[in-house]
Symmetry: C2
Subunit: 161 residues, 2 copies
DNA sequence: GGTTCTTTACTCGGATATCGGCTGTCCGAGTGTCCTCGG
DNA sequence: CCGAGGACACTCGGACAGCCGATATCCGAGTAAAGAACC
């Protein structure tokens, strides 16, 4: 049960986009170079964010990605779902159907007590993720490392891309 | 981010072992036949439960698996960790080290705000899993389906294995 | 000089290889049982 | 009849393939900008 590595990249990239502001679009290559990530693969993740409506993408020269809305309207869950998909980790395969006394027509996703319990745990996880926005993260970072926004802007302004 | 299918099998098998009682050991083949699962693969999962101290295993004729302790001392988290391993789903790769201003010696597992936030979500998930024992599950099942214990015992007693 | 058209270079987007881990299977080590043989 | 020894069959345990999804890469469609040509 390993989460897609792109989730981490996407979260950090969204934060960076937040510090850079929505004026300019930033290419996947620039965002990848910031952390030394494979550009084409990060591009794939950013595409997923665009499909989910978290980013907007523009092609051509001076194109790239920018935030579709402010960071306080983007939760951690939004990003995770955009990359990982909406399915929960535990998937009940309804093996009770195969057992003695099992009803092939029953919906054990709802009936199976184990499925319910695992669903509650998944819900607690999602609730925690949905309770934190990227603006919260940004605020915490800026409180602990006040020069991060300026350094980030500087890097994207000076380093050739 | 898909959970190992063996977790579902392990949970259901532990419940069945709880209904059958600790007097007799039950073979992986019998437990697998109950749901029509591949016997050798279920055996692999049960081995993991034995390594984790949830089950005890005995070889030879009249051997098999039995519960190492009562169901009220086995949480859902115990079973999940036994099958999936102790690592959490989100693994911070500390990409901040590679970025400008990154400290190669810093422990970003603790410092990175994103890592902290994802860790909190994982903790909420684990807390929910640890808060429910298999005895709770058993009680809920018996409340909704009172004849399940007897039917299960009957099946294991009558069906040849 | 201004406007329009063409060329150009750049970026996203999806299609295409490659790799690791879950899924599934098989055979050997160990062990309890049953039978046989001897006392 | 009773006990000891041995053969046997059964089960776990770990070692060995197969397959699917994540990882990583590449090339084409579309586009905005820059330059050239024309008015």
């Amino acid at each position: 049960m390993r989460m897609n590595e792109g989730v981490e990249w996407a979260l950090h990239s969204c934060l960076n986009l937040g510090w850079l502001g929505p004026e300019r679009a930033v290419t996947a290559g620039r965002l990848a170079a910031f952390y030394g990530l494979p550009p084409a693969y990060l591009n794939k993740q950013l595409q997923a964010l665009a499909r989910a409506g978290i980013l907007t993408s523009t092609s051509g020269p001076r194109g790239g990605f920018r935030l579709a809305r402010d960071l306080d309207a983007i939760t951690l869950l939004d990003v995770v779902v955009a990359i990982e998909g909406p399915d929960e980790a535990f998937r009940c395969t309804q093996i009770l159907r195969q057992g003695p006394g099992g009803d092939p027509a029953a919906d054990y996703l709802k009936l199976c007590v184990i499925s319910q319990a695992m669903g509650r745990a998944d819900l607690a996880w999602r609730r925690e993720l949905a309770g934190q926005t990227l603006a919260d993260i940004r605020a915490t970072v800026e409180r602990g490392y006040p020069d991060t926004p300026e350094r980030t802007r500087e890097w994207f302004a000076t380093v050739a891309g």
